[in-house]
Symmetry: none
Subunit: 190 residues, 2 copies
DNA sequence: CAAAACACGTGACAC
DNA sequence: TGTGTCACGTGTTTT
């Protein structure tokens, strides 16, 4: 519209606005980051801490869940699976590029003072949960919070506290290697 | 740290850098926005077009999917158990007011053929998690999903699947009692 | 004009 | 050494 000679009609409130807009923007950023870490906390598979990766992993996880639901629905209806068995495998697989790609096992241990964060994501094996928990116990780590998911891979995220005077004895790297070996992997973790 | 002479060691490349960093930042922003609209596209329920709302809706949707999976598992099993239903639910209620008791340990096991839901909430004890997981393993229950919280009390919610041919061997009540004893409680669980 | 959401360029930091 | 990511404050647009 016809602004009167003042091209500063957008800049004229430079003194009054900023503090308000600034705080609003800060709150907005905080909300968004909170939601982001919230999303990260419920997605078992986290390849990286990138915002982009978090979203990507969340998307993958959702697809995975949808796939799971479909298979569950199918299994539900396939009471007559017997006859299908002989036909199976002919042209059923042949997924181009999906979850087939084997991801390298992920073992991460982050130690901060008395708090230890553990993140494991690897192929599922029988007894893996038990041996992992047992190892944690043996290392003097009390599980404070833990989320486990075994839909496709074995995924464990835990935050532990030091049980006794173990804090100076072992490093995060020690914990990591011990868990790695416990999980049945031979060599050294990357 | 206290660099003395050259405080410009960070500003010296003001002329050379910006265009590159600028482009990188643009690409990053684009990638993030792409992922965001991707997420928005696969989430059916979209309350608003806000970035924050999109993430929130995505989170809700994921929880919804997880819940769906549980109910699907149950429904699948319910089909085979319709005939058994007539025997249950006779004396199930009778919980008028129990808030007076400080900490009634809670042990609940709900078994439907291949799916078993376990819920434990009791006072924390050292080694309780390990013994519980160990017991589950011994009972032939594979933990599919699990959330553990040990802040004040010990709280465990898990959904398991039958590992092998244990399904007919033990009942939900058996599992419950076994877990109860494992947790260090003497008598019989109510 | 206001309140909220977004896009932008920049400095800082990590690998 | 640089390349990528994040937080920040600000300008611009939308409600």
């Amino acid at each position: 519209m016809g602004n009167v000679g003042e091209k500063k009609n957008k800049i004229r409130k430079v003194e009054g606005q900023p503090s308000k807009n600034l705080m609003a923007e800060r709150r907005r950023r905080k909300r968004l980051n909170d939601r982001l870490s919230m999303l990260r906390s419920i997605v078992p598979k986290i390849s990286k801490m990138d915002r982009t990766s978090i979203l990507g992993d969340a998307i993958d996880y959702m697809k995975e869940l949808l796939e799971k639901i479909h298979t569950l629905r199918e299994d539900d209806n396939v009471k007559d699976e017997i006859k299908d068995i002989k036909f199976v495998g002919n042209f059923k697989e042949l997924k181009p590029n999906e979850a087939l790609v084997k991801k390298p096992p992920k073992f991460e241990v982050e130690r901060r003072n008395e708090d230890t964060r553990i993140e494991i994501c690897c192929s599922a094996k029988p007894g893996l949960l038990l041996s992992t928990v047992s190892t944690l116990e043996a290392l003097g780590l009390d599980v404070q919070q833990c989320v486990i998911s075994c839909f496709s891979d074995f995924s464990l995220q835990a935050s532990c506290s030091e049980a006794r005077e173990h804090r100076t004895i072992l490093s995060g790297e020690d914990v990591k290697q011990t868990l790695f070996k416990t999980a049945g992997f031979g060599g050294r973790c990357l």
